[in-house]
């Protein structure tokens, strides 16, 4: 009986001491952070909108998938990207252009509220006119502002007839030669 009391007191004292010691230990490992000792203990966060922030858009790695941009001159209006897009957020309307190869892309809208930035459209774009910029600040006040449009606008009716005549004359020339 005697040693059982004595033993339990020892166990009790050890438990209290271990508790105190481990709490002190974990506090001491966190203490050097206050004095910023060593390279591993610098503060990591930065003020975001302030100009002091060290990282800018072009520090991002090369393959970053930021907001999309479509260089409309090279775009041939082939609808590949609209077909492959999982969330169907690309809307394209196009009409026959001045010559047979090129088409006039009147509307090319990417709805960034639905886009999941998977990059499949960029991969499937042959003339790679569609590519990722390094722009990541995409916030907007209304959802409608989130739609980025790269289209060239509707054709006026006379232009449409003029180009139709040009196309017909090309066809005749090609047909004759």
């Amino acid at each position: 009986m005697k040693n059982s009391i004595f033993k339990s007191v020892i166990v009790y004292a050890k438990d209290v001491f271990f508790g105190f010691w481990s709490i002190l230990g974990s506090c001491l490992t966190a203490f050097p952070y206050i004095l910023r000792i060593g390279e591993l203990r610098k503060e990591v966060t930065e003020g975001y909108p302030d100009p002091v922030s060290s990282k800018t858009a072009d520090d991002l790695p090369a393959r970053t998938r930021g907001l999309l941009f479509n260089d409309i001159d090279r775009c041939t209006g082939c609808h590949d990207c609209a077909k492959i897009c999982p969330s169907q957020c690309i809307k394209i309307e196009d009409e026959p252009g001045s010559d047979l190869t090129k088409r006039w892309v009147s509307i090319f809208d990417i709805d960034f509220s639905k886009c999941i930035f998977c990059g499949l459209c960029v991969e499937s774009c042959q003339p790679n006119s569609l590519f990722h910029t390094k722009q990541y600040e995409g916030a907007a006040y209304q959802v409608s502002d989130l739609v980025a449009s790269f289209g060239r606008g509707q054709l006026t009716s006379e232009q449409r007839e003029k180009w139709a005549l040009i196309r017909k004359s090309d066809q005749n020339k090609k047909g004759l030669s």
Binding site: V16, I23, S26, C27, A30, Y33, R41, T45, G47
Partner: protein
Amino acid sequence: MNTQGTWIVSWFDLVGLPKDLPHWVYTLVSLVCVYLFVVIPSAVLMSYLDRKLTADLQARIGPNRAGYAGVLQSIADFLKLLQKEPQFKWGLRENLWLVSHTMALYSTLAVLPLGSLALLVDTEMSAFLPFWATLVLALGTMLLGLTQASVPGWFGGIRVAAQTLAGSFPALIALVCAGVRAGSFKWSSLVHSQSFALWGWAAISNPFQTVAFFVFIISGLVILAIPPLDGGLSQSDIHGGVSSYLHGRRLSLFQMGRLYGFFFWCLITVVLFLGGWNLPESLVSHLREGESWIMLSFLELTCLLIKTFFLMLVVTWVARVNTRVRVDQITDFSWKVLSPFSLVALMGASLWAGWRAL
């Protein structure tokens, strides 16, 4: 009320108010001055230091928006809370318990030991009065939680009650240890028995007093449910517990009360164990001959507040690093560890004092 209230008279000369006013005016003015010029600034400074220390501790910048390096952050928080509109309709009962919660705290203003001259209540019972205030504070918080008629509130209230009961016993015993060493419970004699030098402090003078010091601090955290041991107000499992129904200005009143509770418990610990406002003898005697009471009370106040802030920062540092402790573990801890240690400390301190008296 003894005539100690006359310390305010020396400050009146500065302002040029007439001297021969009845005593209660002096006491009233000193209470208001203490609240405005000591409690509010220390609360503002303390909440800023706490956030900055936590940020440094966690490898991040911390508040840097409001004012230079975020100095005005606590004022910004206070204003933000004021303009928030409370969600729930408050009946008479909730207001009653919130008022009782705050009045319990601010009643201790009269008892605050802020310097050898600024002692409004310096009787044999003065060391026990703040202890009474913490119990009423716990009662206010518990009933504040229970009247919310919601599960988080109910759990928060019950937890605060259990914690306070468990924490009050060791706190009282540790208080008695300090009194045994100093021979009486008056603030002036308590501080007078310690000296400015480090080894003169009660906490370091003998091992039993050190144990009493630790027990007193930790049981204070238990009674007031301060961060490492705030099971009653934990965000993760019961949605803020007692404070889950407080919004807007009521939440700021509640938080101000809790911050003041933490501040005044650390202040009392400094006075009891860490050689309160003792200044080097030469300086004190020089000032006393020169009759410059203002400079004396000012220096004593700053020495006291520096030690209190340092103690509060150490507690915050421990709170941020460790996890929140469960309520049944807190009550086990205070019954099975704090109470026996405080009894051992009491026996040791009294033997030590008796041996010294031979």
